[in-house]
Amino acid sequence: MNEQTVHPKDDNSMALVSMIVGIISIVTSCCCCGGVILGSLAVVLACLSRVETYFDRRAKIGLACGIIGMVLGIAAGFVILLLIASAPSHGFSGSGFYFY
């Protein structure tokens, strides 16, 4: 009996995209809204990639990275707002950073 074996091909590309976008969201979380935009996109893609009753492993990673990216992005936004609010009127902060 000739037996031909085709290796399983995991074609859940949306989970893969979710993972990649989630990782990018963490990287760009310190940039302007990068973490929030890409993080929420990663979470949405991870949720939509579930076609079984369980989450794909890459979708889980994408979900986690997306949530982390969103949280970091929101935190970075708050920090930037606080720094802007606490900046002296002449444009210099105590540490010497320019804010405008």
Binding site: M1, N2, E3, Q4, T5, V6, P8, K9, D10, D11, M14, C33, V36, I37, L38, S40, L41, V43, V44, L45, C47, L48, S49, R50, V51, E52, T53, M70
Partner: protein, 408 residues
């Protein structure tokens, strides 16, 4: 319908798997056409405003507008604007209907195509336009008391009564709107599925389908709030995926109301692969390939085995019960599905007549049925020549027939 909300969403995701690209492409086409119309509308409006004001400032009595070398009056531009706006509304409306059809196709397991976006242009377009006009008219009529009261309160200067009335009226109208929208929520999908149905027939069918399911539909709508919020957070980018997901879930809900959810959506991809047995090549699952059935002779039966469609038969005919062995070497028989039959060799050897009824074998079956006619043994004279039948195929048979060496 006894399908849970989470299952409906799962079915929608399964239905969309594999056609995300098509649906997102359709969304991009929809957006491109919408923006083209909007750009055209804004260009005409800007031309009217800019050139019209300039002409008025110049002291002209008749306002002339010159755009792209064409001089036109403002009245003509207004007509152009109205026509363009009407065409824009019609195109957007019909493409929205095509969207519903696209979602229904995806949920039904049919192939989703971008061209389905323009499906409504060729399937009773005036019916959908008429429905939209009637719906807009009804909405305007329900808001008529608000307009009347607002004008009256502005004229009389008594605003307190108007405020109370408007509050109560809005609360009542929200309840009525919600009831009507939930009751006739399947109206468009019914018409999209079968455009031949009448408007009132579709309304009554939607009413019958949604009986006792309004709450489920309402909760289903509310359950998209979270993911819609995420879509907003992503700057609207994720709405490219969320909006088809929502549309397809509503289509699956409609199919579930009718009890027509495709079976393949109920099964996970792994279950589908397992249920369908040996999967297709490249489908991503293990496959046990059965080689082509061996035609011809079975080794177990003592005959040489051949594979595939080309049968090499060597060794030929087995010894007859009478003790003769007729060697037929190098016979090559090509089987292509038909039944090759070698008709009877009639051998008259040593006073015996050995009749062999030939072999019947098919290429696709592993069946080998030696059809041996009953051998009639009767005394014959020595040295009788071998006679071949006239209808014997010379390509199948071995012309060099070996005469049996001994006579039992």
């Amino acid at each position: 319908m006894d399908i849970k909300r989470s299952d409906l969403k799962l079915y929608a995701r399964r239905a969309l798997k594999g056609c995300w690209g098509t649906i997102i492409g359709a969304t991009l086409v929809y957006m491109a056409i919408s923006y083209l119309f909007l750009i055209a509308l804004e260009s005409v409006m800007l031309a009217m405003l800019g050139n019209g004001i300039r002409t008025l400032l110049g002291g002209a009595v008749t306002i002339q507008v010159q755009t792209a070398g064409v001089t036109a009056s403002v009245g003509m531009l207004l007509v152009i604007l109205a026509v363009l706006y009407f065409v824009y509304l019609v195109v957007i409306l019909l493409m929205s209907v095509g969207y519903q059809r696209l979602y229904l196709d995806a949920a039904s397991g049919q192939k989703a195509k971008i061209s389905t976006l323009f499906w409504a242009f060729s399937h009773k377009p005036w019916k959908f336009i008429l429905i939209s006009v009637l719906v807009a008219l009804l909405a305007w009529i329900t808001l008529l008391p608000v307009y009347v009261l607002a004008i009256a309160s502005a004229l009389t200067g008594r605003g307190s009564f108007a405020m109370v009335f408007l509050f109560v009226y809005y609360v009542i109208m929200i309840i009525v709107y919600a009831y009507v929208l939930l009751t006739f929520s399947q109206f468009y999908l019914i018409l999209v599925e079968d455009p031949e149905k009448g408007i009132f027939e579709a309304l009554s069918e939607s009413h019958a389908l949604m009986k006792g399911k309004r709450g489920s539909y309402f909760v289903l709508c509310l359950s998209f709030l979270g993911i819609a919020l995420l879509g907003l957070l992503s700057g609207g980018l994720a709405m490219l995926w969320i909006s088809p997901y929502m549309g397809c879930t509503f289509a699956v809900f409609y199919l579930a109301l009718k009890g027509a959810v495709p079976e393949k959506l109920r099964l996970s991809p792994a279950q589908t692969a397992a249920a369908s047995g040996p999967a297709y090549p490249g489908g991503g699952y293990y496959r046990e390939v059965t080689p082509p059935q061996q035609s011809g002779y079975s080794p177990a039966s003592g005959y040489p085995a051949g594979g595939g469609y080309q049968q090499t038969q060597q060794g030929g005919y087995q010894a007859q019960p009478g003790g003769y062995q007729a060697q037929q070497g190098g016979q090559q028989t090509q089987q292509s599905g038909y039944q090759a039959r070698q008709d009877a060799y009639q051998m008259q050897q040593g006073g015996y007549q050995a009749q062999q009824g030939g072999y019947s074998y098919q290429s696709q079956q592993d069946t080998y049925q030696p059809q041996q006619a009953p051998i009639s043994q009767e005394p014959a004279s020595q040295g009788t020549k071998l006679e071949e039948p006239e209808n014997r195929n010379p390509e199948n048979g071995n012309p060099e027939y070996e005469t049996p060496s001994e006579n039992p």
